[in-house]
């Protein structure tokens, strides 16, 4: 039996955070995602405890200002690539500069320093991730996917796809399909 589920990732994170912060017995507020304010200071032992218990959920406390800023850049890019039906048609550099209120040169400098990759390649990675999801869902044609992600043609999408994964979109589709059939049959054998 296969269950199809949908979930609200923001809500999940918020509830996990609340559950853990409540245990500290200190007043706190969650300022949007990615920022929590706790009144008073947290003793080191409590801090480590919180850090370890959140890590299980993939939630990490970031303590270096450059890392914090890099996370903000990543969030802004992810939001731009995933939340809208199609990507903004304005220049991405201008969009990021406006959103983060810093010059693009500053933003890309910090990003490369912390992640060892350029903003452009991170954006390409995220765009291709979204393309992969849309290919797997299979509702839209490659032409439509290319359009949503601001590639000027299917050929450009395929080139981008190939530069990130080393595979063509069609080969990817075939592999994922066979892989899930493969898992399905091996599960049936196990049962």
């Amino acid at each position: 039996m296969k269950l199809h589920i949908t979930y609200d990732i923001n809500l999940c994170c918020k509830i996990v955070l609340q559950d853990h912060l409540d245990k500290l017995l200190l007043p706190y507020s969650i300022n949007g995602l990615g920022e929590v304010e706790i009144s008073g200071t947290l003793p080191q032992a409590k801090y480590s405890e919180l850090e370890i218990s959140l890590k299980k959920y993939g939630i990490e406390i970031i303590d270096n200002p450059k890392n914090v800023f890099t996370q903000k850049i990543k969030d802004a890019i992810v939001e731009m690539v995933y939340l809208e039906k199609a990507l903004p048609t304005t220049k991405i550099s201008a969009h990021l500069a406006k959103k983060l209120n810093k010059s693009y040169g500053y933003i890309s400098g910090i990003f490369s320093e912390v992640t060892f990759t350029s903003i452009q390649s991170f954006i390409m990675l995220q765009k291709i991730e979204r393309a992969k999801q849309e290919i797997i869902i299979g509702k839209e044609t490659l032409t439509q996917i290319a359009w949503n992600l601001n590639f000027s043609s299917v050929a450009h999408l395929s080139n981008g796809f190939k530069s990130i994964t080393g595979l063509t979109p069609t080969a990817f589709q075939r592999i994922i399909k066979k892989r899930s059939e493969n898992n399905f049959t091996s599960q049936e054998i196990n049962n």
Binding site: G58, E60, I62, N64, N67, T70, Q71, K74, V78, V114, T115, F116, T117, F122, L125, E129, K132, Q133, I136, I164, T165, G166, L167, A171, F172, R174, I175, I176, K178, R179, N182, S186, N190
Partner: protein, 149 residues
């Protein structure tokens, strides 16, 4: 982010290849800790120890005595604790059929073993930075495939 190192495990039966790999990886900018094992049997013994911290990325040579890379891949993917590991297959074959087969069996990365040191460095840098992004940016590992020739 860059506050802890990426833990890499390499399984390769060729001592020269292991040395070659270690030298190349030391020149990649991302901080790494490398553990090496000599074949597939040692690899599985290592991974099944309950006290170890699981690696972030495993490089598997396809042709190893005693237990091949393919057999290891199968065992890893059918083990609940290990099935989410990122696996890079390291092979001399460039046949499209072999490449697709390893992806279908659950590999994330396919690397054709380069004979040149500079090439190896470039390839490892690419694999590690992309894997790092999957590790730190909450990307869906199930869709993670990367083929490098």
């Amino acid at each position: 982010m860059n506050h802890d190192a990426l833990h890499i495990l390499l399984a390769d039966d060729d001592a020269d290849d292991r040395l070659f790999f270690k030298d190349a990886i030391e020149e990649v900018k991302v901080k790494t800790v490398v553990t090496m094992v000599n074949d597939g049997v040692e690899l599985m013994e290592y991974l099944l120890k309950p006290e170890i911290q699981l690696p972030n990325l495993v490089f598997l040579d396809l042709n190893m005595p005693r237990k091949s890379g393919m057999e290891c891949l199968k065992e890893i993917r059918s083990n609940n604790r290990l099935k989410d590991l990122s696996i890079a297959i390291y092979s001399t074959s460039a046949l499209e059929k072999d490449i697709e087969e390893t992806f279908i069996k659950g590999a994330n990365i396919y690397i054709r073993k380069p004979s040149d040191f500079e090439d190896l460095k470039t390839i490892l840098a690419k694999v590690i930075t992309i894997n790092w992004q999957y590790h730190t940016s909450g990307l869906n590992k199930e869709n993670f495939v990367l083929n490098i020739q």
